[in-house]
């Protein structure tokens, strides 16, 4: 009877001691290291193929099974998932509509930037040619050139402005940083770009009639300078860090 009890105890001990060792079979080897590959990306995996498939709105790499998804609940004890971190499935879910909105916004703002840069050339040129646009002659080539440059500047400016105004807004976005100054300047150069040509036409007509520029048309020069200054400041505010 004593022998039987002893055997039972030994058998129980063996089973209990074996339990921790059995679980070692589930561990994986540590990642192999290679000094040649140090700090270099090893395997970029293109997920574009996955994006074109019927389930395009997740971060799932094309080559990995769904069980390895970071968004999926962890199937193994040693693989934390996004849900384990407290991120909901909604937070991890892609939004194709929002991406399309951002793409459209960027596309339109790129055109805005390009047209604004091009507009800066005739705006600068019209400011420079304004020096020779005065005088008492009823007809003067430099005055015509100034008027033509002003007209071109206005056209390019309003094309640029159109793309900025029509670029879609992204809901839930608060405007911060230099873009606030850039937008504030639009409240100066926007009305300025409407007023300047109107005042310019009035001044142009008065000059061509041999009259001295008078009345509200006298404001053409100062308004143009302020407008050009605000435009330049708006351009620089998003180009240079200050």
């Amino acid at each position: 009877m004593k022998i039987f009890r002893l055997r039972t105890i030994l058998l129980s001990c063996s089973c209990l001691l074996a339990v921790p060792f059995l679980s070692l079979a589930q561990t994986s080897d540590p990642p192999a290291s290679s000094s040649q590959d140090a700090q270099k990306p090893a395997v970029p995996q293109d997920q574009k193929a996955a994006q074109n498939k019927p389930q395009p709105e997740s971060q799932q790499p094309a080559t990995k099974p769904s069980g390895d998804l970071p968004t999926a609940p962890s199937s193994s004890k040693t693989e934390p998932s996004l849900e384990d971190l407290g991120f909901s499935a909604t937070q991890a879910q892609g939004d194709a509509k929002r991406q399309a909105l951002l793409d459209k916004r960027t596309h339109m703002l790129k055109i805005h930037q390009r047209m604004g840069l091009i507009a800066a050339i005739p705006i600068t040129a019209s400011v420079i040619t304004s020096v020779g646009a005065g005088g008492k002659d009823t007809s003067k080539a430099s005055r015509d050139l100034h008027a033509a440059l002003g007209g071109l500047a206005g056209d390019l400016y309003f094309i640029s402005a159109y793309y900025a105004i029509r670029a879609p807004r992204v809901p839930g976005t608060e405007t911060r940083g230099p873009i606030r100054f850039h937008k504030a300047m639009a409240w100066i150069h926007g009305p300025g770009m409407i007023a300047t040509p109107i005042l310019g036409i009035m001044a142009f007509d008065q000059k061509n009639k041999g009259e001295k520029v008078h009345g509200i048309a006298q404001a053409h020069g100062p308004v143009a300078i302020v407008t050009a200054g605000a435009f330049g400041a708006a351009l620089l505010s998003v180009s240079l860090k200050f």
Partner: protein, 181 residues
């Protein structure tokens, strides 16, 4: 109580804790990720404090997952941040995840070399042997280091300003404080 019952009771009390002694968890207490972008006219940085992470250790091996929403990076300019989300396809792939496996013993080292698997912008990229510095204090470990990421790794078209593209290198600084549980 018979001797057998006593021994069985002792074994039950002693061995279950031993069997699970290898399992522990690390939780990210606080973290900061900072990307750096260089342009001929600008140097800018985007910072996120919304990083979350967890490490599960089993049999001496720890699996870590660190994740951060793409939209949480703040460069101080909302226009730039929106553009960043657009070029990195951050609305379609809203999370950046970093996975790594480390031996549990690494927590006692001053520096570690980690193999990282990063999912970002719809791409999965592995970086081998990235160096991190560890500072241990009480029950916490502070890990700092830089991931040498580039735009081409993640197939991101470099954004441009005044027709000049930004540099390809976008190093990401990491500052994470982990607590053992």
């Amino acid at each position: 109580m018979t001797p057998l019952t006593k021994i069985a009771a002792c074994l039950l009390l002693v061995f279950p804790p031993l069997a699970s002694a290898g399992d522990s968890q690390w939780t990210l207490q606080q973290g900061t990720l900072t990307y750096h972008v260089s342009h001929k006219l600008h140097e800018s940085e985007g910072v996120s404090h919304e990083v979350r992470g967890k490490g599960i250790c089993h049999a001496g091996q720890c699996d870590f997952l660190i994740a951060v929403p793409v939209k949480s990076f703040d460069s101080g300019d909302s226009n730039r941040d929106l553009h960043m989300i657009q070029v990195t396809r951050g609305a379609q792939f809203p999370m950046v995840t970093v996975r790594t496996k480390l031996p549990e013993s690494a927590s006692t080292s001053a520096t570690i070399q980690a193999d990282l698997e990063i999912q970002f912008a719809g791409q999965t990229v592995q970086y081998k042997q990235v160096s991190f510095q560890l500072v241990t204090k009480d029950n916490q470990i502070r890990i700092t280091g830089t991931i040498p990421a580039t735009l081409t790794d993640f197939k991101i078209d470099p954004p441009s300003l005044l027709t000049l593209p930004v540099k390809n290198e976008i190093p990401v600084r990491i500052d994470l404080t982990w607590r053992s549980q």
